[in-house]
Each structure stands twice: as structure tokens, then as C-alpha cells.
Symmetry: C2
Subunit: 369 residues, 2 copies
């Protein structure tokens, strides 16, 4: 039985919520204490748009945690194992955030907005509390707050043409995770080349929530000739691309090494940061499990998984699937999973306890496509 | 148009989820990264049970943040303005938690479990991150984690008889917020006299998630003779009783003084705690707004509010309604609201911009009933 989503004042609506609902939002979840659209009722069309066309997504749930003041950069450096030497205004970086035990607690994109202001565009955990608690306890001169900023994503191979039509051809040369201030009819924005898909695209960070409905219409109009339509962070595309979903793929014990984030960390840098000693120990100890892809046998799954599925090999528990779906491009059921290194190194298949019976699966590297 | 709730691995299910769904869960929201049942499809019966009978609620979303180690009590004292002198094992206390600016970031019930372990039974924000960040930054000898603990509430005037039948008559003498270790068929529990209603009742803190379905059945069987049925934290009862819903009633600027929490704070204590200087300044500066009840004119509202409603008086913005409903007991539409002290002191009615047109309302103290 489908469950209805209760709507009330505790969970917030993005500035695009009413427009997205008017355009057919059919299902939603909650992310960062906000409603997150998850379906417009036509999964095939939504997938097609992000893979071959262009889609517009209300991702207001990507909340910004702003660090502002003389110690903004110092706090940012203390919060992440990533080396932020030479970080420039207009530059974004994907940064793991760990706790003092070296366990991952978020994986935001960090944006340097001005000399003394940094934003963390966060996944689903209250990093404003983490950052504010640490800044306060250390007596740092920095104010941690949530600004009135709500991203709207334009994703898919045709996104570049839509955004160039709106803002000019300069957007074509923006580097990945690069961003610039921009405006549209006086609506203040940050325009970034980013988004939670591997199909290319942009995110318009709306800087004044009063203009949500208007910005939605402007994007819709600009994209009309390219067949733009509403969509959401795409379940199937993210599994194909092996994008990490913090909270789904991770648990309380997940380390950034297990997720293959080595290239985003510099645990030998001079700078001190949260979890430095723990991460150095973890690196030395080596991996016990790793984030991997699966190709799963059998009939196409009729729906998405509602919970994690256990993985076994020769009767032993060896990990879990966090997201699974049938992929038209892979012509197979596929999944992202956390699997023991023993199971990976055996080269043998694993057993998936799926909602539709036990299935055999082959472990493969990510991305799957 | 009703929205469907997407179910996936990112948002967790309580150990009672499947049993609650089998018993007719019709709608849900998300709270502390978990699915929270909000309706079983019969609001009148659910209200009747909590007011005149007995109801069982899956409140697994009341997550516990455990502080364990030699500095557990020191950390707890540093986290709250409440004076914890003489805190005993088996004693629970309602504790505001504020940030360094004196703004409310949660309002948990604190339970002292052992000499060196304290739990915070939290509202909807990631206090594990707040507490863990502060403990780490201060180098305190305490481990902050989320134990495998999930409360099941038994609420309503007949709850006492159900729980006495299950555990013995000693439960009748437990003080409010008092708790004790208990078990049922070997299932480890904490039994507390508490719950998010003013109708009396208990909460069984399940200490091993594997037994969720079994505990649900045991409570259902024990309550059968008393007419027990499933329910959820009740929207109407909470407005009548003026219970605070963190995140719904509060915003980034809300202080505990605005919520009338003075009696739960001792800003003159010797102990240092987060926000002490800020709270002393706020006390001195006095209140600009206050959490109040409203009696609202006109036809019974046909549903609950989907968002905050603005309040005006003589054309000026004077605050917002966070929850509104028709109350059978009050024979009126009622609401909880944050209202400017100027509007309160004027003694004049306010205008409510409700989803069903503008309505006149009288400001009244809480609780309303």
C-alpha cells in the first residue's frame, strides 16, 4: 500500500515547491528538513530527459551552510580532510566531512563565495550544527548560518544550450564545479556548473526565495524549445553513474576510504583538521569493505528497493545493496552496494536478498555506465 | 493533489514500521531521518483513543543520542541551560538545548541511564553532530553515538491500566519523566512515564531493534481489552495542550524564553554552558514575541494547515500560526502561534491568513484546554 506524505509546517517547502506541484509532482521525500520531489509520475520520460534531453529539478533541499567572517577559511579547512591550499573565489570543490573518528558525516560541494564567506552545499545531515558547535567550542570568529539560497538544477546533455540561451555563451567555458554570480530579470543567482548526475548541467542557486515561482517559469520557457520537463535527482542514473547518496549508501561506520574518496583527501597536509589522526590510522589499517557496483541476474525489477538488501557469499554476510534498479542502458538490473573486500577479491558472485527473491550478482567497478 | 511518500534506503524505518503498516498506517512524514507515521486514516477515532481511551504509537523517530564515558555528565551540563545538579539515575528531565547565540536547536528529554551514560531523546535535529562536534573540539572524554533504541508510546487515560497489566502495579507510582529498566519475554526495555501528549501514558524504549514486531504485538494484545488501537502524535491534542513541536513552531531565531521555557533554565548557575552569555543578554533585553494559543472564528477548518499562516493586526505583520485545527473539546478552531508581544498586549484580535480565507482570532494562553 502506498503511503501518503503528510504536509505541514515542520518540514519546509522550497521556493519552487508550488510551481513543481502545479507541474505534476507526484511523490516526494524529505531531505534536510525539506520536501524533496522524487517523481512526476512518468519514470521513463524523466530518465529519457536526463540521459538524452534536458530536465529541470527542484533541488532546494541542497541547503547551504554559510561560514562567514575572518575565520571562515580556517573553519572550512578544519572541517575537511581535503587540502584547500589556493582555494579561489568562484571555485567549487567536493569535500568529504568526517567526525573525530574519521567516519563520513556529509559530502558537500564547497563554494568560496567571497574572501570571508564559504558555502557548503550539503547532503542530508545538519552540518550547520556540526560546524557551529565546533566553531563555538573553539572560539573562532566566524558566523555559521543558513542563507536564503535554493538551487534549481538543469541537467542533461542539452542543459548547456538552455543555459547558454539564458545567460550567454560564457557559461560553456565554465569549468566543472566552477561558478559565477549572475542574474535574470534582476533575480540574484549563483550559476554553477554542477549537479547530481553525470549527464552534465548547471545549478542556479536562487538567492532570494521570493522569486522561486518566477525562476521556475523562466527556466521552463528557456528550455521549451529543447523539450525541457520536470524531473528529480534520478534514481537509475545515479546507480549507473555510481554517485554516492549520503545516508542511503553510508552508515555510522562508513569511512571516506570505503567510498573511494582518497583523491579528495590529503591526510599528510600540514593543516590540522577533524579526524586527521583517525583517518591516518584507517589508511594504515586498510579497507574491509568498499562501495561497488553490481550486475544482478534475472527479470527486470518492477520497482525500486524500499530498504537495503543483504548480500551473502557462500552463506556469509558480505554487505548490503543500498539502491537497485533495472537499467535500460546496461540492459540489466544494477545496484550500488557496500561489499567486503574478501567477497570482492574472491572474484565469485554474491547472493542478493532482493524484494523479488534471491538473485545472483557479479561485483563490478563504479561507474557501471 | 495528495503526494505519495517515496520509500527508500536513505530514510530509515523504525523496528515497528512493518507492523504499523500492516495495522493500517495511511500517511507518514520524516523525522530524524526516519519515517514517522502520521495517520491511520481515521482521525476521529485516533483522537478519541488518546483523549478517552488508549493508543499505541510508533515513535521510533524519537532517536536517542547517547553520551557515554567519564565526561558524559560534564558534556550534558555544558549542552543545556537547565541546572542538572543532583541528577539521579532513573530520572528524566526536559532540557532546552541552545546554540552559542542562545537560539533553540532542540528540546529533548534527558535520561540518566547509568553513572557514565546519558541519553537525549531528541526532537528533529541532528544533536549527535552538535554534541559530538563540541565534545571533540573540547577534547572531552566521552563517546557520542546513537544506540539501538526505539520508543513505542502508549498514551491516553487508560494507558496506565494497560502498562500495569504488562509490568505490574509499580508502574502506577512512577513519577512523570521517571523511568526504570524492564523486560518483557526477555526483550530489553526502558519503561518511562512520558509521551508527547497531556493525556498521560508511558513510553517503552525498545533496546534491541530485532524485537520491534514482537513488542508491537505484545502491546496490542495487552491493550485489546481496553480498546487500544494504533495512533500517532496527535495533531489536534498537541495544539489543545500547547505542546511545542521543534521545527514547526520554531525558526532560526527562536529563543527558549519565547517558548516560555524559563522554568527549565538556570542562567545564573555556576556551571558554564553553551549560550550562557547570550541567554543572559536575551533575558535582560526582554521578549519581542511569545508562543501563544489562538481561538479562531468561523466554520471548522476542513483539514490541517499545510504551511505557516501569517498573522496581522491593524495591517501590521505580528507573527505566524504553526499548527491549526478544529477542536471538538474547545468547540472552536484553535492554533498555536508565535505572536509579537505588542499584539498580545494590545488585547485586540488578530487576522489569520488561513488556507480557507481570512479569519479573526483571539490570542489566549497555552494550554488552550
Amino acid at each position: 500500500m502506498a503511503l501518503q506524505l503528510s504536509i505541514g509546517a515542520r518540514v519546509r517547502k522550497s521556493p519552487f515547491f508550488d510551481a513543481a506541484r502545479a507541474d505534476g509532482m507526484a511523490a516526494a521525500s524529505v531531505y534536510n528538513h525539506m520536501y524533496m520531489p522524487t517523481s512526476y509520475g512518468d519514470p521513463a520520460a524523466e530518465y529519457e530527459r536526463v540521459i538524452n534531453g534536458v530536465a529541470m529539478w527542484d533541488v532546494g533541499i541542497e541547503r547551504q551552510v554559510a561560514l562567514k567572517g575572518p575565520d571562515a577559511v580556517a573553519l572550512a579547512r578544519y572541517l575537511t580532510p581535503r587540502n584547500l591550499d589556493g582555494l579561489k573565489i568562484g571555485q567549487g570543490k567536493y569535500v568529504p566531512i568526517c567526525n573525530y573518528e574519521g567516519k563520513l558525516i556529509n559530502d558537500p560541494v564547497l563554494l568560496r563565495i567571497t574572501d570571508d564567506e564559504i558555502w557548503l552545499s550539503i547532503a542530508d545531515s545538519d552540518i550547520a550544527l556540526w560546524a557551529g558547535g565546533i566553531a563555538g567550542a573553539r572560539g573562532m570568529d566566524v558566523y555559521v548560518y543558513e542563507p536564503d539560497v535554493s538551487p534549481l538544477a538543469i541537467q542533461g546533455p542539452k542543459a548547456i544550450d538552455v543555459v547558454a540561451d539564458m545567460f550567454g555563451n560564457w557559461v560553456r567555458t565554465l569549468s566543472y564545479f566552477g561558478f559565477a554570480e549572475a542574474e535574470l530579470e534582476g533575480i540574484p543567482l549563483i550559476l554553477a556548473r554542477s549537479g547530481w548526475s553525470k549527464q552534465g548541467g548547471y545549478e542556479l542557486y536562487l538567492r532570494d526565495g521570493r522569486y522561486g515561482a518566477r525562476l521556475w517559469q523562466l527556466v521552463k520557457q528557456a528550455g521549451a524549445g529543447y523539450g525541457i520537463g520536470p524531473g528529480t535527482p534520478n534514481y537509475i542514473e545515479r546507480v549507473e553513474s555510481g554517485l554516492i547518496s549520503y545516508g542511503a549508501d553510508t552508515d555510522d561506520a562508513t569511512t571516506p576510504y570505503e567510498l573511494g574518496m582518497d583523491k579528495f583527501m590529503d591526510v599528510d597536509q600540514k593543516e590540522d583538521f577533524v579526524g586527521k589522526a583517525a583517518l591516518r590510522s584507517l589508511r594504515k589499517a586498510g579497507l574491509k569493505r568498499r562501495f561497488m557496483g553490481l550486475l544482478i541476474d534475472g527479470e527486470p525489477f518492477p520497482a525500486f528497493n524500499e530498504a537495503r538488501w543483504e548480500l551473502h557469499q557462500n552463506g556469509d554476510y558480505v554487505g548490503y545493496v543500498s539502491a537497485a534498479a533495472y537499467s535500460r542502458r546496461a540492459q540489466s538490473n544494477i545496484a550500488v552496494s557496500m561489499v567486503s573486500t574478501t567477497a570482492i577479491e574472491s572474484g565469485q558472485p554474491v547472493d542478493v536478498a532482493s524484494d523479488w527473491g534471491h538473485r545472483k550478482a557479479t561485483i563490478v567497478p563504479l561507474p557501471i555506465i
